[in-house]
């Protein structure tokens, strides 16, 4: 078939029977504990601008990883779906653009925005699955670009070039969710839920079927699976992961504008997912953390190297290029293949 398996390293859906007993390794518990206790030692800047941002971007990239790694469909529309949700929250809820925003309460605006974004993602998917393989990238990129240009041109609904500012997280249960610590937990919670959902779904019948379709769509059709319907459903599920992340991103920035859904950010999400590794759902978060750290500290790094601080895109592009060329399964793949065996070897040799 036209599409090569995206990530050879991706563990094909493990047996439904064996998965139940899997269990979480010690390192996983330690990671969870560190993330939960983070606010006790990290500064507000780190909580929101580093980890909050990384969780949000990681979740959007996770929705791409799910489609690419398990469905064999590299969709570039995920950032657009997230941005769409952000726009919907700004339009339906409150923002600085009072003449457009409808001012709905958050408990109505947020679920509606998510539902609309899922609809948007599903329709985009329905369009993209009309052709398979390498066309997916092109079509989803075209959809993303169309939405970007549309938001930039449209003043009446999408606020044109400037978009919406003053879009803030709500206050409820007596908690101000825009304060750093609650917001950190909000981002962490959705990232963890999204990660858990993916881990769960890929071992459920639906996920198993999706991976079968990735590897051999013709055979799956001959087993009675509606290949197209499964692919579209995968887009819907991915949109459901990305949409809340898009709302969080909008609250994090306090605004949503065409720049959020531009070609640059759309490609960045792909870069994050690929650099982290398309094989496993934790990959996008690794990629996102790296991206965010680079984004924040690249200036100092570049200047230290004697380059202009403006060459951030060059660093990102080269990093991406090197990853694709030399470690197609990302940093996680590099870790699994080279570093972990060596560590294990040394430990084994010491005994």
């Amino acid at each position: 078939m036209a599409a090569a398996p995206v990530a050879e390293a991706a563990a094909p859906g493990s047996a439904p029977r064996t998965s139940a007993a899997g269990g979480i390794p010690t390192s996983g518990w330690i990671l969870a504990l560190v993330l939960l206790l983070m606010p006790t030692f990290a500064s507000d800047f780190f909580l929101v601008q580093v980890f909050g941002w990384a969780f949000v971007l990681g979740t959007i990239a996770l929705s791409l990883q799910f489609l690419a790694g398990y469905g064999g469909m590299v969709s570039l529309v995920q950032m657009t779906v997230a941005g769409f949700a952000g726009y919907m929250v700004a339009i339906l809820g409150t923002s600085g653009l009072a003449q457009i925003s409808l001012g709905w309460p958050f408990w109505l605006a947020v679920p509606t925005a998510i539902a609309l974004a899922v609809l948007f993602g599903t329709l985009s998917g329905a369009l993209a699955v009309r052709t398979a393989g390498i066309y997916t990238i092109m079509i989803t990129l075209a959809i993303a670009a169309a939405f970007f240009y549309f938001t930039r041109q449209n003043e009446t609904v999408f606020g044109g070039f400037l978009g919406f500012n003053g879009v803030r997280a709500p206050v409820f249960w007596g908690i101000d969710w825009r304060a750093p610590v609650p917001f950190y937990y909000l981002c962490l919670a959705w990232a963890a839920i999204a990660w858990g959902l993916v881990v769960w779904v890929v071992r459920a019948p639906f996920g198993l079927a999706l991976q079968g379709i990735r590897d051999n769509p013709r055979r799956m059709a001959a087993l009675g699976f509606d290949v197209t319907a499964h692919r579209i459903a995968a887009y819907a599920f991915a949109a459901f992961l990305a949409a809340p992340a898009g709302i969080l991103l909008t609250w994090l920035n306090g605004q949503i504008a065409p720049g959020t859904v531009g070609i640059g950010p759309v490609i960045d999400v792909l870069v994050i997912a690929v650099i982290g590794g398309l094989g496993r759902p934790i990959g996008p978060f690794v990629g996102a953390l790296l991206y965010v750290l680079l984004r924040i500290f690249a200036m100092d790094l570049l200047v230290a190297l004697g380059l202009s601080g403006q060459r951030f895109q060059l660093v990102i592009g080269l990093g991406f290029l090197l990853t694709v060329l030399f470690s197609p399964d990302g940093i996680l793949g590099l870790w699994e293949r080279h570093i972990r065996p060596r560590l294990a070897g040394e430990r084994g040799g010491g005994r």
Binding site: P16, A222, F225
Partner: protein, 262 residues
């Protein structure tokens, strides 16, 4: 006129499992199938023989919906399925095996069969993981048993011997409630012992399940069917019982060469 009456008859009275009328398939200017008309009763077991390029696999592909025929109609238990998508045909009880094994090599034997059972169940989109006593898993285990693969049920398919993979192909085709099978050279590449096993499995199938089998090995083919159709260059040119076909001098000349028992 005659066709219309025949259609009405087949729609009400004795319905054929498979009813092909004037099925023609062109690839560019090349006619892979020319005016193929064929009917198979429910439970009937039929071999389609012919040299390479006679159009046998193309015929199967048209029946399962891998290709759409250029013209003609295909009915399955009276229903016109000519333009149905592949998965809709499968859900109506049609099954096939492939000449080259198309299996999920990274999954275990049981998971492969589980997928096949899932494909014809209502739980295809389920987001809930199956429990230990899931009925689909139960039926998957039963199928693995039916094709004599219990011992390797948890092995990855890629690690299986060729013969075992062919048996698994068959298990996938038997998932759900099959009414009719299309078997594309199930004996290809099998050892004599494995062939005997295959013949045993085929003859052990429930009597209501009919099949069409494409097979080069006459020893296998003629021992598992009650009727034979011969194809040549995309056309049907002879039908009969295995005994008639075996005795036919023209057939001897064309396909069986010198002594088919070799």
């Amino acid at each position: 006129m005659a066709v219309a009456i025949a259609e009405r008859l087949s729609a009400t009275g004795q319905v054929n499992a498979l009813e092909l009328r004037g099925v023609t398939k062109y690839f560019g200017a090349l006619a892979a199938l020319s005016d193929v008309t064929l009917s198979v009763r429910p439970g009937e077991r039929r071999a389609i023989l012919g040299s390479n390029g006679a159009g046998k696999t193309t015929l199967l592909n048209c029946i399962t919906g891998d290709f759409l025929p250029t013209s003609g109609t295909i009915r399955f238990f009276g229903e016109d399925i000519t333009y149905f998508p592949a998965h809709e045909r499968i859900r109506r009880g049609l099954r096939r095996t492939y000449q080259i094994s198309l299996l999920f090599g990274g999954l275990s034997v049981l998971d492969n069969v589980y997928l096949a059972c899932l494909g014809v169940s209502r739980g295809r989109f389920s987001l809930l993981r199956p429990r230990r006593d899931d009925p689909l898993l139960e039926s998957a285990r039963a199928l693995v048993h039916a094709v004599h693969l219990d011992e390797v049920a948890d092995k990855k398919v890629a690690e299986l011997a060729h013969g075992q993979q062919r048996q698994l192909e068959l298990a996938l085709a038997l998932a759900g409630a099959p009414r009719f099978l299309l078997l594309d050279e199930p004996a290809a590449g099998l050892s004599p012992a494995e062939r005997a096993e295959l013949v045993a499995i085929l003859n052990g199938l429930p009597a209501h399940i009919g099949y069409v089998i494409i097979e080069h090995d006459m020893d296998v083919a003629l021992r598992v069917v009650e009727s034979v159709t011969l194809m040549h260059e995309g056309r049907i040119f002879k039908e009969g019982t295995p005994a008639e076909i075996e005795a036919d001098p023209e057939v001897q000349e064309l396909y069986l060469g010198h002594g088919h028992g070799a």
